[in-house]
Homo-oligomer: 165 residues x 2
């Protein structure tokens, strides 16, 4: 069973972070078929059910041109997650794994990232597949999937910098 | 030239977001060779120069097990970015693109994501390649790259759910 809020054998906690270094604005809300953490998929799948990314004003016009991309990187705020786990035991078997060696939702900054397949663009929402978050999750950002995107800005010196002498 | 803070022809701004829906805790600091936005690469490259992800306490033990992953997803806070651009003109040619159809650093929640190649793990830092952020950028999160990670938690009902009847 996924974590609700319990602490398990072998886990290590920190003091909850103050979380005042920077602030987030929710830009939308995600609608998925999963209303409980006990049924939400652990990882999204490209043939998963359709989900909706509802975009709030004033950000709807920022979707202009997104229809050109078959895959979108979706960043969301996993609002139900605890933020104080340093070592976690996802299998609840006493074995501890570092939080940064897991894609568990419990992390100091519970930002989820998924690559979603774009099904359809509407003026106020996107229909996608491939998500793995609970219904009602706040939306933080959308970007074209890395490998599909070519920068439009002019070249910068760092673009060509490599480790080879 | 990349954006410093100017507004360009064809761009559309919103009121700066209140950014008080949720709070972030910086978990570390990124060291790169690029000290100006005018030289930072637009996109990271796997053969790019070595960079350092310095991890703050109490999160250093959360690196346990990360050495198993050749590629790490790095989330960072692009602290120099403006957050009010809805339509942007990366080429400064009067043509406007929606913020969510770009990977520009200027976005309502300026969270950058990169896939970094792991070079070496030390107790307080990771050495990586493939970054595309300015020196001193605050670090938000590290996760195993999606395609390399198999969940450790037991299966959930949503794992097998598809759109096919």
């Amino acid at each position: 069973m996924v974590r609700l809020d319990e602490v398990r054998a072998g886990e290590v906690l920190a003091a909850p972070p103050a979380a005042d270094d920077a602030g987030l604005a929710f830009i939308g809300r995600i609608r998925t078929p999963w209303v409980s953490r006990l049924e939400t998929p652990r990882l999204g799948r490209p043939d998963g059910p359709e989900c909706t990314l509802e975009i709030f004003e004033p950000w709807r016009p920022a979707l202009r041109g997104i229809e050109a991309y078959a895959r979108i990187e979706v960043l969301f705020w996993m609002h139900l997650s605890r933020r104080d786990l340093v070592i976690q035991s996802p299998a609840n078997d006493g074995r501890g794994h570092g939080t940064f060696a897991l894609r568990s939702p419990a992390r100091p900054n519970p930002i989820g990232t998924t690559i979603a397949t774009l099904v359809r663009v509407e003026p106020e929402r996107l229909i996608v597949r491939g998500l793995d978050c609970i219904d009602g999750t706040p939306l933080l950002d959308l970007k074209p999937e890395r490998s599909l995107f070519t920068p439009i800005a002019p070249e910068q010196p760092g673009d060509r910098q490599t480790f080879r002498p």
